[in-house]
């Protein structure tokens, strides 16, 4: 009797749809939903599940409770990745996303586009203002996600944070907590500016107050990629070098062999950071100093922890406003640059250089995770035409790497340059005078 109920062995299946076939293109379907009955159509057209779900169900009501005592007054312990309950002093750490979602592994197996849930497209109608009903007293508390992710209920002092992954781009998959403390950042900025005082704008020096530095979480997409690239061009090897003529008319001539070159490289990149705010991503040094913030990359993104708004208490944040598709050209540009850097060592014998003329990129797979990265930012607005210039001094909130733009006093710099040039010219004339 029991034997009769044993299921037969599963037959090996080789027909259409088996793993032996070439998989269809992502998003394509052999079925035309329009021709199908409504229940099936609805099923087919329902949104696909996102590949990596990083939303945390336990924090959906906007209240981060201490796991031990349930209080909501939770803060990051400065200089560490730990959260501390200000009521009972319990300390704990959110899980690292690297292990939690397996982000460090299988990059060479990546295919298609894998998007973590916090990196999904921003809904056009999503508002940045969010209203919470305080679970402590029932009052309504508003959080403006453009620049903040937590708020304190003004009636009962409950702390509410935005943890639910709303489709306005404000909630990332992960956050990398500040390690560099404010005093440390202030010292680094002071040290940076002290090395640049002589020709600095007078108003900048007069108003210099590094204590006004602000800790801000900036939005980035952290991308893993599995790609192949080809480049083609010409290279030259010197075969002979000789001089002709004599005295002042002596000239050097070169003979060279010309080669046609092709190079192919397969590579993976791990955790390439891209600015996912349109304003920050604009690196035009004629109109802004965003390149300063770009320079302090990279961060130790491997240590990022699962999103928890408590890390953002007392810091400001900037909302992401770029989607994966908008960032793809930027990513491909960087991947091509990396490919060109990778093949350089293989053309070392071309001592007269190489002129690359064509390049090709095949992106096999990418994985996108949105992250808030910690930056200490000091800014100074220099008045001028077209709204002037906003100068940043930025400190990487993890590594302490510091970079900045110090406005210059043009007349001072010009005067110094002309004075030195004048001295050089004077000596040149002296030498010429002696020679003739």
């Amino acid at each position: 009797m029991p034997n009769a109920n044993t299921p037969p062995p599963v037959p090996s299946y080789t027909g259409p749809g088996s793993p032996q076939d070439v998989p269809p293109l992502p998003g394509s379907s052999p079925l035309d939903p329009a021709t199908l009955p409504k229940p099936i159509r609805d099923e087919l057209q329902a949104p696909d599940p996102v590949a990596i779900d990083t939303s945390s169900a336990e924090l959906k009501d906007g209240v981060n409770r201490c796991p031990k005592c349930g209080a909501t007054d939770v803060r990051q312990k400065p200089g560490t990745d730990e959260l501390v309950c200000l009521y009972c002093r319990h300390q704990w750490t959110a899980a690292r996303v690297e292990e939690e979602f397996g982000l460090g592994v299988g990059i060479d197996q990546l295919e298609g586009t894998v998007i973590a849930s916090g990196a999904r497209d921003i809904a056009a109608d999503a508002a940045s203002m969010m209203t919470f009903k305080c679970t402590g007293c029932g009052a309504e508390v508003t959080v403006n996600t453009q620049n903040a992710m937590t708020a304190r209920c003004h009636w009962c002092r409950h702390v509410l944070g935005v943890n639910e992954q709303i489709a306005n781009g404000a909630v990332p998959d992960a956050v990398l907590p500040f390690h560099i403390k404010k005093d440390d950042a202030v010292a680094r900025i002071r040290q940076f500016v002290d090395k640049r005082r002589l020709f600095a704008l007078k108003a900048f020096k007069d108003e210099f107050t590094p204590e006004n530095v602000v800790g801000v979480y900036l939005p980035y997409m952290i991308v893993d990629g599995n790609v192949s690239a080809d480049v083609a061009g010409q290279g030259e090897i010197e075969t002979r070098r000789y001089k002709q003529g004599s005295g002042d008319n002596e000239k050097t001539y070169y003979d060279a062999d010309v080669y046609q070159l092709d190079r192919h490289v397969d590579f993976t990149v791990d955790d390439l950071p891209l600015e996912s705010s349109a304003e920050r991503g604009n690196l035009d040094t004629r109109s802004n100093t965003n390149n300063i913030i770009n320079t302090i990359l990279p961060f130790d993104t491997k240590n990022a922890v699962k999103w928890n708004a408590s890390y953002l208490a007392s810091f400001t944040s900037e909302k992401r406003d770029l989607n994966v598709e908008k960032l793809r050209p930027h990513l491909e540009d960087e991947l091509l640059s990396i490919a060109r850097a990778q093949v350089e060592a293989s053309v070392g014998q071309y001592d007269r250089g190489v002129r690359w003329e064509a390049e090709r990129l095949a992106v096999h797979g990418t994985r996108w995770v949105s992250m808030y990265l910690p930056v200490w930012l000091y800014s100074y607005h220099q008045p001028g035409p077209n709204g002037g210039m906003l100068h940043y001094i930025a400190v990487n909130g993890r590594t302490g790497e510091t970079m900045g733009s110090v406005p210059v006093q043009q007349w001072k710099l010009l005067l110094a340059a002309i004075t030195v040039g004048g001295f050089l010219e004077f000596f040149a004339l002296m030498i010429l005078g002696h020679a003739s």
Binding site: G235, V258, Y259, T268, V269, N291, I292, G421
Partner: protein, 88 residues
């Protein structure tokens, strides 16, 4: 002699311009950005490719190939779309 004299006369303007731009960059850091080519974790398989001699140059006065861009990783050249040819 006259040739050397002309070169020396340029020392003043060249020194002034060099100092101006050198200091300007030191203060404003306009030439800095994230060196992702060096600072990203890249795992590459060995580079493959072919080299074919196609021509010889005789008696040129240029010390480098025209349009040398071997170190200018970020300057894009013609982008070819599609899959690489057989064996590429």
């Amino acid at each position: 002699m006259s040739d050397h004299g002309m070169w020396l006369l340029l020392a003043g303007p060249a020194g002034a311009t060099g100092l101006y731009w050198g200091l300007y960059r030191y203060y404003r850091n306009t030439d800095k950005s994230h060196a992702f080519e060096r600072e990203t974790a890249v795992v590459a398989k060995p580079v493959t490719g072919s080299d074919q001699k196609i021509d010889e140059v005789k008696g040129t006065r240029e010390s480098r190939i025209e349009g040398d861009n071997v170190r200018e990783y970020r300057r894009r050249v013609q982008r070819i779309e599609g899959e690489p040819p057989e064996g590429g």
